[in-house]
Symmetry: C2
Subunit: 314 residues, 2 copies
């Protein structure tokens, strides 16, 4: 079974892009032309209506970005907000992206006591046994996980990743403004997130691919460039999933230290700045809601070019 | 709008019980008589089959326990493992429990950057706006949340709880064997979980009910009795949601310090020891799978009596 990190690197090389497009559907920003065919559903069941709209939007986004990127990252919160209908759209978005040959990172940030973590891992990157049969609940290639509860809360995800050629990304230093409140607390000589980085590196050593990277990655926010270089040193062979680029304010220069000298080691996520480029500077000067696909394509090509200028190669 | 803590205390007094029955369906332990009517679904779609079985099991469990307890706590991982069909059963389990007058704590352990946390809060304890209408995705009264990402990742949950008479329980000290790995790290003079307890107390002060307790609660594992007394002091007016009783090994004596002198302040969760009592010591000597309801009822009554011996009143 191919290691997840090797599959990831192959996808990055294939498209010559370290970009992960975040599939975070904001209903109010989805073009009217996509909503229109579903209008009759609205009066019956508004959650089903919205869930149908976001799935169709995602399919169209995937069609636009798939020639340019190898990775998408749906954030499950934006699906759960439409109830189980939304979660159905999450499942179907993953299947559609995989049909198009994309790697899918489910941004679910799960974490729980061991028996529960086992259920989450089966749900998102594994399979569920029902009597004599097995089924795949959600077909993501990797998920994000929260380490607060300790190693035993992550071990079932690591085991499941190992058994299914999948991966995980451990929250180490997140991109939000107050991420330092607990993550930067000094515990003796080290910050808490540095201790978690050391553990992530240790967990990762059990799941190395042939390209020299681990299937156990780390979430490292682009909004904290001063921490990135330290984290790169603590976790030299860990793939970084880097949120915060674009809408959250980080630039290509900020994320340069995420990459190793081999040009590998980081996936840069952008969501709103790609999906709603038609509504975002500088594309909004040129495009409108009805030409949103052109704006999205131009934005993703532009991001690729910007990142190719920063990294040596991918 | 009634404060969640007041609603919680009313439910506890009404049933004279601080027990929250954990609705964690283990497919292989669900009695055959419940599975039988759904057998024809198995060949078409095993996830839909299992999801239908667990919903029916939950309904029967709720019917058995509702006369004796005021609170149930479905753990969403055990639903996500059956895909979106499972999540549908989660949603419908909540609705059924609420029809029976129960308080529902959704054990979801969510936490994310502010814009995403807003979506999670809307999903689980709030409402979603779709154009001109609003809808309720999941109707839980409270959810568990993970604090690792910082205050700004929890604020949307707190705001939503405030706006909808709902509550949250912040993971402070969890019940799993390795919870101390990060939660007990010394940060200066204090353990990390004590710092998070202080913050939880501070957040809670903004959402106090008329009974003197806050709608912002804390998860405190029964498996760490030596920490409980300290946490009770740091968070005197915080409701504790206490996992670890029963199947995880903690006894009534262990959880005594969770309660305040007023007999209030804690909800004690038990899942497997109630749901699968027919398969658990001592009930398994007396009952079989076909008499599981008697075993479950006897187990919940037994747990109530044991806890009434520990606390002064509820």
């Amino acid at each position: 079974m191919e290691n997840f990190a090797d599959r990831l690197i192959a996808a990055i090389r294939n498209k010559n892009s370290p970009v992960a497009v975040g599939l975070d559907p904001y209903f109010q920003l989805i073009p009217n032309a996509i909503k229109q065919p579903f209008t009759s559903l609205l009066k019956q069941n508004s959650l089903e209506y919205a869930a149908s709209v976001i799935l169709e939007f995602n399919r169209q986004v995937i069609d636009v970005v798939a020639p340019h990127v190898g990775i998408v990252k749906p954030q499950i919160a934006f699906y759960e907000m439409y109830g189980w209908w939304g979660v159905k759209s999450y499942a179907e978005t993953i299947l559609y992206a995989k049909e198009k040959g994309l790697i899918v990172i489910g941004d679910v940030k799960r974490g729980d006591v061991p028996s529960t973590a086992e259920a989450y891992a089966a749900a998102h990157i594994g399979e569920t046994r029902i009597g004599d049969v097995t089924a795949i609940p959600f077909a993501a290639d990797a998920v994000t996980v929260n380490p607060y509860m300790g190693s035993d809360s992550l071990l079932p995800f690591i085991q499941t990743a190992k058994g299914h050629g999948k991966g995980i990304f451990v929250l180490v230093k997140t991109s939000n403004p107050l991420s330092g409140e607990f993550q930067d607390i000094l515990c003796g000589q080290k910050k808490l997130h540095e201790i978690i980085a050391e553990k992530t590196n240790e967990w990762g050593s059990t799941l190395m691919g042939s390209e020299g990277y681990s299937a156990i990655g780390a979430v490292v926010g682009a909004t904290y460039p001063q921490e990135i270089a330290t984290l790169r040193k603590i976790m030299p062979k860990t793939y970084f999933l880097v949120p915060g680029y674009g809408a959250q304010g980080a630039t290509a220069k900020d994320i340069k230290p995420c990459f190793n000298p081999d040009g590998l080691g980081a996936i840069i996520n952008a969501s709103r700045s790609i999906l709603y480029a038609y509504n975002t500077t500088p594309w909004k000067e040129k495009y409108t809601m009805s030409t949103w696909k052109n704006a999205t394509e131009e934005a993703v090509i532009g991001m690729n070019e910007e990142l190719r200028g920063v990294s040596f190669k991918f």
